[in-house]
Subunit: 414 residues, 2 copies
């Protein structure tokens, strides 16, 4: 838990208040001692909500709770704890959710189904939800419009830095704000590093439009990143719109793919923010020393390009080579080939840091190694893969695989 | 390259001569100095052959060569080198294969298409095939029926011990022998550790029956093992039948699924031998300290069970937990859930070393931790997963993920 801060860390941005959101963090003592481990965000009446969740078939109890609550489309609060994921905890896990939501709802005077829940931490230990419930009145008493950093810190597990992002978007002639916080060190590392992300806006947007935009944005951000290929049981992204900002009314049906429509700028800024948060998670990937961007072009379809990019991003051999600062394009060829997507060895090109090292099925004779070597020593790397087959393209992001990953995951629970 | 011998190593079995096979190893100096790096096996006229190859879409030139040669169904020799994989080498790679096969064919007086080739080592460097060709006469001069160990050693790359297995099978009232050698330290580690396996028998078996049995056997052995999920560009299993043993004639159509037929015992012994070799490869997995068997039961189909087993076997978080001797069943739940196969969290059971730790969606109250802790400290571990849905079952094997893997792959090429 006392890992040094990632060399890829970025500073927390300034996070101004966002109308309709108040936050607080507290020490519930669920697992950690001497740090905050529970966070509440109170949302103004009328707040709409969208959510996307893990595709893991063994999701945590809070995922089940949120999926059911999402059907109402309204939210008044979200309560998040770190240290215990409330996953694989059977009926006790469901009861913990019901009790926490009921207690929060009573405090705030709202239906329990408007309270959203997320938990991150160890799998398989019964959640001591009485500790969580006991912390709620203090949380409510401490709610403040300026506690964004406290909230971002209160949800951390193996994270080495707090993660947040904020944007201003235009709806018609009006400005609205979007602010998000996230945790994860490994999107994809279930025990102590499930990925959670909470995004808030003061815009007034119907839940169905919010959901469409969130789904599109997550597909292009979180779903294109990987630390270790292990899809968590608790991954959650929730987007809340408090409706406190004044702006032209968003008509029904205006949502994602809103090119030219009222929400076009909002959707663009939301996408930027989600990608910023997703990359902060990768920057804090367990043991990460390098952030790697993988651009695939020339695939038969965009879907095929994404699969190739993710195969490279998930390859332990590519990731260990990067840790060793070795521009080992042979391993990239291997990873392209194992993706199971259309690929023609003799049309394949591989570049690193803007230098094409391999083209048309063989090494480029006498390519300049010096800039490649220099690029590999940097903190942020770029790999280009052209399949030479079509117009499909996609980008994915990953980090290197280092001794730090083994240290964190080979000894954490004991 | 000077890694200590794997703690999971097994001694080389005694390997008696096999009628119709003579072998030799030599130093061609392709990459390594002071060790053998090229192996020839000469096969008696009339030898039939079967082969299965990598599914990687960017295969090495020798894979292309073997796929074409396999159509003839006959083999007189196999030539293997270590140190250079002849992958992603363009036309030069094809020319290296053509020249090596032609020179071997001339020495042995056979068609070039009866010479099989395999290469393992670095990707993307042009093969100095003149060194390979120059070594051929010496290899031919040194051919011997007793050089099995020399052959097993001559094809090693990051392997820490030579791998071989032998069986005696009955065909009717006659006995035939099957002997195989393999290399790989990581089935699945492209640079220096592609997986190669060569199996020989003195039985007389038509190529189509041989192919059917090999495909079945590989599916239940090599295709159920993983070191790091990275499918090599050079994986090759070749099975040669010299036809030198006397036994009842195998009728056309007798082959795999030969329950009760003439080749039933042969197929069973072949499967045993392939699994033995596959497990020797996992025992020599890069950085491996523990061999892990994963038994999945209760899946909706056998295919689904295999996918779940492989998802667990490939999970970096499960593998690092095992390295840390932590019976972290929560990570196993995660890996089951991410497999994308039908799974019901509340019917799932997880056991380690014969003790069910989790059942019906929650931890087993008061289960005895002591035998589990003791089991995790051992060299050979067993994980049981019951999905509680159907009758599908499958077994997979893997190794743990340790600092040794990072050491070997983060610094190897430089």
């Amino acid at each position: 838990m006392a890992s040094p801060v990632s060399p890829l860390a970025v500073p927390l941005p300034e996070l101004p208040p966002l109308a309709g959101v108040r936050l607080a963090a507290a020490e519930a003592g669920i697992r950690y001692k001497g740090r905050t481990d529970v966070v509440m965000a109170e949302l103004a009446p009328g707040t709409t909500v969208a959510g996307v969740f893990t595709s893991n078939k063994c999701p945590g109890a809070p995922i089940d709770w949120c999926r059911a609550a999402l059907k109402g489309g309204k939210a008044r609060a979200v309560v998040v704890n770190a240290g215990n994921a409330n996953v694989f905890t059977g009926k006790a896990g469901q009861q913990a959710c019901t009790a926490t939501a009921a207690a929060t709802a009573k405090l705030l005077g709202c239906p329990a189904k408007q309270v959203f829940l997320a938990s991150t931490g160890v799998i398989g230990e019964v959640m001591p939800h009485e500790k969580l419930v006991a912390a709620l009145p203090g949380l409510q008493g401490g709610l403040s419009a300026t506690s964004w950093e406290a909230a971002a810190r209160g949800i951390m597990t193996t994270d080495t830095f707090p993660k947040a992002s904020t944007r201003v978007a235009r709806i018609g002639d009006s400005e609205v704000r979007i602010t998000g916080i996230a945790k994860g060190s490994g999107m994809i590392a279930p025990d102590m590093a499930t990925m959670l992300c909470f995004v808030f806006t003061d815009a007034k947007i119907p839940a169905d439009a919010l959901q469409a935009m969130l789904r599109t944005g997550v597909e292009a951000s979180f779903n294109r990143t990987t630390v270790d290929s292990d899809t968590s049981t608790s991954d959650t992204v929730l987007l809340f719109a408090t409706g406190q900002a004044k702006h032209p009314r968003v008509p029904p049906g205006d949502g994602a793919n809103a090119r030219g429509r009222l929400l076009a700028d909002f959707a663009a800024k939301l996408n930027e923010l989600l990608l910023d948060l997703a990359l902060q998670v990768i920057r804090d990937g367990e043991g990460a020393r390098k952030l790697v961007r993988i651009d695939v072009t020339g695939a038969v379809t965009a879907r095929s390009a994404k699969r190739v990019a993710m195969a490279v991003a998930n390859s332990p051999l590519v990731k260990t080579a990067i840790a060793g600062e070795d521009a080992n394009w042979g391993r990239i060829v291997m990873a392209v080939g194992k993706a199971g997507e259309p690929a023609d060895r003799d049309k394949l090109s591989i570049g690193v840091g803007g230098v094409w090292m391999a083209k048309d099925g063989a090494v480029v004779p006498g390519y300049d190694e010096a800039p490649v070597v220099a690029h590999m020593k940097g903190l942020e790397l770029e790999i280009a893969i052209d399949l030479g087959l079509g117009r499909g393209k996609a980008t994915a992001w990953t980090c290197d695989l280092t001794h730090g990953y083994i240290d964190i995951n080979g000894s954490y629970r004991s």
